[in-house]
């Protein structure tokens, strides 16, 4: 089976999952009628519609002919990049809460930069330091963003 076939299948499956889940949760809210819609009416409708579209998408993957233009294969999983970006954001949240803006900014940029294979420790640290200096100046002193420069919120 071509890769495309499998991809649309998953695409459809995801829509079915989300739509079905939404419809399920929404059905527990009061429904009402069309002319007097309760909180559950519209979301259930949407959930069902999404699930149906999901079925169609997944189904079309099985039966549609492969398109003329070649589809690029899915990119190789790039765990380093993904983990660093995700980690950087998470660390920002954590450190902004408990350690202050300077720490949060530095670590966020540092870790994210490390996600790129062409960035080494020193380059990432330098970039992080530069952005931290600029960022703290701009966001804390000029724009008064409510994250303490040091210390917990």
């Amino acid at each position: 089976m071509s890769l495309l076939h499998r991809r649309d299948y998953y695409a459809g499956a995801l829509m079915m999952l989300i739509g079905g889940g939404a419809a399920y949760v929404a059905s527990h809210y009061r429904m009402g009628s069309l002319t007097s819609m309760g909180p559950g009416y519209f979301p259930t409708l949407l959930g069902v519609a999404l699930a149906v579209i999901g079925i169609i998408i997944a189904g079309s993957a099985a039966y549609a002919p492969a398109p003329a233009s070649a589809e690029a294969p899915a990119p190789r999983p790039d765990w380093r990049g993904w983990l660093c970006i995700t980690g950087a954001a998470l660390l920002f949240i954590l450190l902004a809460r408990y350690a202050g803006l300077v720490a949060a900014t530095f670590v966020c940029v540092f870790v994210a930069a490390l996600g790129d294979r062409d960035n080494g420790w020193k380059e990432s640290a330098l970039l992080a330091a530069g952005i931290t200096g600029f960022g703290v100046l701009l966001f804390s002193f000029v724009l008064h963003v409510q994250i303490p420069i040091f210390g917990s919120m």
Partner: protein
Amino acid sequence: MNFWQRSVRQILLALLGLFAIVAPAAAQDSYPNQPIHVVIGFAAGSGADTLTRYFTDKLQALAKQPVIVDNKPGATGNIALRAVTEAKPDGYTLLFSANSNMAGSRYLFKDLPFDTVKDFVPIASFAQIAFIVVVSPKSPINSIADLTAFLKKKQGALSGYTNQTAQLSTEYYKQLAGVTTTPVSYKATPDAMRDIVEGQLDFMIIDGTFGAPQVRQGQLKALAVTTAQRSPSLPDVPTMQEAGVANFDFSPWWVAYAPKGTPQPIVDKLQGWMLQITELPETADFLKDVGAVPQHDTGPQADARLKAELPKWETLVKAAGIEPQ
């Protein structure tokens, strides 16, 4: 790494080290020696925000420290409440909130992670906002008596509301006057304005901060104010009680709070300042613009006042048929 990069790095590390030493050594001798944050559960630009900013501006002059407004809107004010309970009780995080929030939340929500009476220390009350009963300027109704009679006759009359406080006050009126209406909710005040002026809605009880200027400029017709006394901003408009709805007194009053555990000397200092501000004639003038009057309860007085109101809120929420979340 070349010499330049190394030097920059060393300097940065040194600076970081210096900051780390200096920062925590905040002298505790006299309050306040840092900016004070006032948290409110409303978005910037709302009536509550405008009200707050007047007071924080005045407080800043007295405290000689910046007083910053932290808008933490959401969950009908609960996000702000929670944020303040989680803050350090050192007098640098305060809350401005209305009784409608403090009392109402108890009965509108189950399982809140805080107790609105026990977890907050009232500092002083400072303003009371009138809500106004309005109809379209084109409407033939001219008084509450007219309105009640009209509602008793009309099937399926429509009343609007933009927030829970307005909703509850409408229910209160309906209860006392013995009428029923179909309530229509609005997320945004402009939509409600449009429908009331066009006559789609039969009446509305609206926030004075927004409503008073509209009434004064002729965009809306006011039938009554919900406070027990007439509002200085609309002196010609009778109160609900004068208009015949006995015992009607429903208008949010605002209190400054500190989290539980804030040292009493700091609370007393803040109380002194707040009472000073509310005594200013300028304050009365400003509040008049936004359909409000100053309040002068001390912390303990505000506390007692709130506690006395709790049963009324409980009945109101039940009567309005609102399910606790």
